[in-house]
């Protein structure tokens, strides 16, 4: 696989990982904007805007956009997080240039008032849908609690109130500040012609004007608060714990991810033996999420409301034991093998590669090959993990508990 790179004069970065043997190709725009770039007055605008990009341009209506993607047989979608908005499509190689051309057009949308009004209903339905899914609700609330006033606590969806009050002109203003070429990466992986892609981008995107886009990158260790949200209609107790982890810029993030796996993988982890295997919690998972300038370890626990005190006692014991004795070489070796096989399987499809390719560039402006990822995972030793435990002290966490229990 060859890595290719080019930057247009207006700052738009184009990257590609070319695999002539692949049966498909994937292409995406990675825009460095999300909930953390919003003020409370426009909470939810990044995600709403992501929906609005599919509503078309001056030349294409929403229905024409959908038909155009489907004519290419594209497997396409988009997602918005706290810090990125990503648009992607996987297609057969012969359609790659067409689908890339379509995305390029959509990156300069009309944002028509009529479309804005209809789509607002869809966004409000999406907010209602997640209200009925406590496993999502608990994460959203816990993140807000953990980050307090730090922008990473901003809600991606926004609220009924913030979205209802949002105007199309507020959205246009946000778009003009964030969807600047110097804040975007066009990434491609699989079987495609990089030169042709660059030529297309040069023809279609060179006129986009650069804008000074900034983001405050401040690490934040968390509020370490505890909150209980009682909902007697729920059957289970849903608990989310957050503690500080390492940023995407920190080379030790691979060690942090391995620590997350040792503690909270769904098979053979410390949570598994402490909580799932003895049937105290049907779900007990932990993972490390590295973000821009900061990071968090998330734990999600789902259990019988009556067993909550016992579950939390065991969690505290797991963390206390971890801080006392660190992790064993055998545990680390097992976690490494699980992570390596996951990397191997994911990278066998262009779509799997696209996401890590794009994010690596968005966060670090560098390329990391599959082999470099593998080497970085293999290089982690038990002392690296002990160092992370010592510095981050995962036993101190923010906790949000949602369910029938009042405390």
């Amino acid at each position: 696989m060859n890595f290719e790179y080019q930057k247009l004069d207006n700052g738009l970065t184009i990257i590609g990982e070319v695999d002539p043997l692949a049966q498909s190709a994937a292409v995406g725009f990675f825009v460095r904007t999300g909930a953390r770039d919003e003020t409370p007055q426009i909470s939810g605008v990044s995600h709403y805007l992501e929906h609005m990009l599919f509503k078309g341009t001056d030349a294409l209506s929403a229905l024409e956009v959908n038909a155009a993607f489907d004519r290419l047989g594209a497997k396409f979608n988009a997602f918005t997080s706290e810090e990125n908005t990503v648009y992607y499509a996987a297609v057969l190689p012969e359609y790659l240039m067409d689908v890339a051309g379509l995305w390029i057009q959509l990156m300069r949308p009309s944002l028509r008032n009529d479309d804005f009004d209809i789509e607002k209903n869809v966004i409000l339905e999406e907010i209602a849908m997640y209200k009925d899914l406590p496993q999502f609700e608990v994460m959203d609330q816990a993140r807000a609690l953990h980050f307090g006033t730090h922008p990473c606590g901003n809600s991606v969806l926004g609220t009924n109130e913030s979205v209802s009050a949002l105007t199309a002109s507020q959205m246009r203003s946000y778009f003009s500040k964030r969807y600047a070429p110097n804040n975007m990466v066009l990434a491609c992986s699989g079987n495609f012609d990089f030169k042709a892609l660059c030529q297309l981008a040069q023809e279609q995107c060179a006129a986009w004007g650069a804008v000074d886009t900034t983001r405050e990158l401040e690490d934040f260790r968390g509020t370490f608060r505890t909150k209980h949200l009682q909902n007697e209609n729920l059957a289970r107790q849903h608990i989310c714990l957050l503690s500080p982890a390492l940023s995407m810029q920190d080379p030790r993030r691979f060690a942090a991810s391995l620590l997350g796996m040792i503690l909270g993988d769904d098979s053979g982890s410390r949570y598994y033996w402490g909580l799932t295997e003895p049937a105290l919690a049907e779900i007990a998972a932990m993972q490390c999420e590295s973000m821009d300038g900061t990071g968090v370890f998330y734990s999600y626990l789902c259990c019988d409301p009556d067993k909550t005190p016992k579950v939390l006692d065991i969690i505290r014991n797991i963390f206390a034991e971890l801080e006392k004795t660190g992790v064993s070489e055998a545990e680390l070796e097992t976690a490494r093998n699980k992570m390596l096989s996951a990397v191997t399987i994911k990278c066998e499809q262009p779509m799997g590669r696209l996401v890590s390719l794009g994010f690596n560039w968005i966060y670090n402006c560098n390329y990391q090959s599959v082999q470099q990822n593998v080497d970085a995972i293999k290089a982690v030793n038990a002392a690296d993990i002990s160092d992370i435990i010592y510095r981050l002290k995962p036993s101190k966490f923010t906790m949000l508990s949602l369910g029938p229990n009042s405390d």
Binding site: Q23, S24, R71, I118
Partner: protein, 409 residues
């Protein structure tokens, strides 16, 4: 696109299928065991959910901890699930660890320890998982819908029923496990980077048991009600509906696939356009074709706030019914490209293909090669799809809702 297909039958009847995919480092395999939810004895609904966990709590000479650690050291990504006909054990891993992983699975399937203490823990976990379904209405509604749509026992929920799971006896469940590995009804499939001869030799040694009586298939009873509402205090009304269709073995399978694609294949499909894009009624709306050996249907889900529920249902039903009145050439062309693309991308995934070839063999008695499917898709025409729809109009709907209010059907 032209992955190589291998097939071999052991003396005891077990069938091994393989599809080699070039340029990958992984392998994925699947054991389909004849112990699906419809085959379980009466009053044992949910036993397979217990068994999926219990099997891995000690096997051969390894304790529960030793076994899980052995799998994890090999980096095996495991998954166990249950359909109406099968209990399925799936694994994906780096191809070099394949022989060791197969040895572990031989122990799990053929020599599980089945300790009583471990049974109790597996049963408690299954009860917890079932109780958790109340907090996931999107999944719960489909479970309720299938139960109502398929004739009993084919709609029995794999996740179980609370009273039956709570009373599930250890001895009866252990007996199911012992009768489960009936080799004449077991399928093994593998995809990716593997040596088929070596895999066959190893499996021949590891799985040398003879056929036993196995679990007995039941005669289907009548279907459930036409419409049911389950009240709950949620933010949305969740709507599930299903209408019968011929199975995958039917001569019309590709016409069905095209019809479902026009209805709900992607964002330019009828449901997405009419329900979400034009009217803003829902965030989530979609339909899928689901086929078993003897029964099949198109299922559809939509979630919407209570005051829009009736309109959402009405628009969805109208779209189903309108389909037979006409499909444009462009719509069919989009459906065909979408189906072909999915097929080729599936051919890049070892995990997706190992499941597909096993399903094909069970449902059709043979494995369709990717090239054959591609050719069938190419030959579809607007006329052939409409002829099928006019012969099989969508008239009979089973409908289920969960939420603050019911709908009128």
């Amino acid at each position: 696109m032209n992955n190589t297909l291998d097939i071999y039958q052991l003396k005891n009847g077990m069938i091994l299928l393989g599809e080699r995919i070039e340029n990958v480092h992984s392998a994925s395999f699947q054991f389909l065991l004849p112990a699906g939810a419809s085959l379980l004895p009466d009053r044992c609904c949910g036993a397979s959910s217990v068994i999926n966990d219990w099997l891995f709590r000690g096997a051969g000479d390894r304790s529960s901890r030793e076994l899980i650690e052995a799998f994890d050291r090999l980096g095996v990504h495991r998954h166990a699930s249950t359909s109406a006909h099968h209990l399925s054990l799936n694994a994906s891993l780096e191809a070099g660890n394949l022989p060791s992983a197969l040895e572990l699975y031989a122990d799990v399937i053929g020599r599980p320890q089945l300790a009583a203490k471990q049974f109790e823990l597996s049963r408690q976990l299954a009860v917890s998982e079932l109780q958790g379904l109340d907090d996931d209405p999107r999944q719960k509604i489909m479970t309720l819908l299938y139960e109502q749509f398929y004739p009993d026992p084919f709609g029995r929920p794999a996740i179980g029923k609370l009273d039956q799971l709570q009373a599930l006896p250890f001895e009866r469940t252990a007996d199911i496990v012992k009768r489960m590995p009936d080799p004449s009804k077991t399928l093994f499939s593998i995809c990716g980077n593997y040596d088929f001869d070596a895999v066959c030799k190893q499996i021949e040694i590891l799985f040398d048991a003879q056929s036993n009586q196995g679990l007995i298939e039941k005669q289907p009873a009548s279907k459930g009600k036409h419409y049911s509402h389950f009240p709950s205090e949620g933010a949305q009304v969740h709507i599930g509906l299903m209408t019968p269709m011929p199975t995958v073995a039917s001569e019309f399978y590709y016409e069905i696939a095209a019809a479902v694609s026009v209805l709900s294949g992607s964002m330019s499909s009828r449901l997405f356009t009419e329900v979400r894009e034009k009217r803003g009624l829902c965030y989530a709306v979609g339909a899928n074709y689901r086929t078993m050996r003897d029964y099949a249907g198109i299922s559809c889900y939509a979630g919407t706030t209570p005051d829009k529920a009736q309109q959402t249902l009405d628009v969805i039903l109208e779209q189903f019914r309108l389909l037979k009145d006409g499909i444009s050439t462009d719509e069919l062309q989009r459906a065909k490209v979408g189906l072909k693309t999915s097929l080729i991308m599936q051919g890049e995934s070892t995990c997706a293909r190992s499941s597909s070839i096993a399903a094909d063999h069970f449902l059709l008695g043979r494995v369709r090669e990717l090239a054959e499917i591609r050719e069938k898709i190419e030959t579809l025409s607007v006329d052939s799809v409409l002829r099928f729809l006019q012969k099989h109009p969508f008239e009979d709907f089973t409908i289920v809702t969960i939420g603050p209010n019911a709908v009128t059907v």
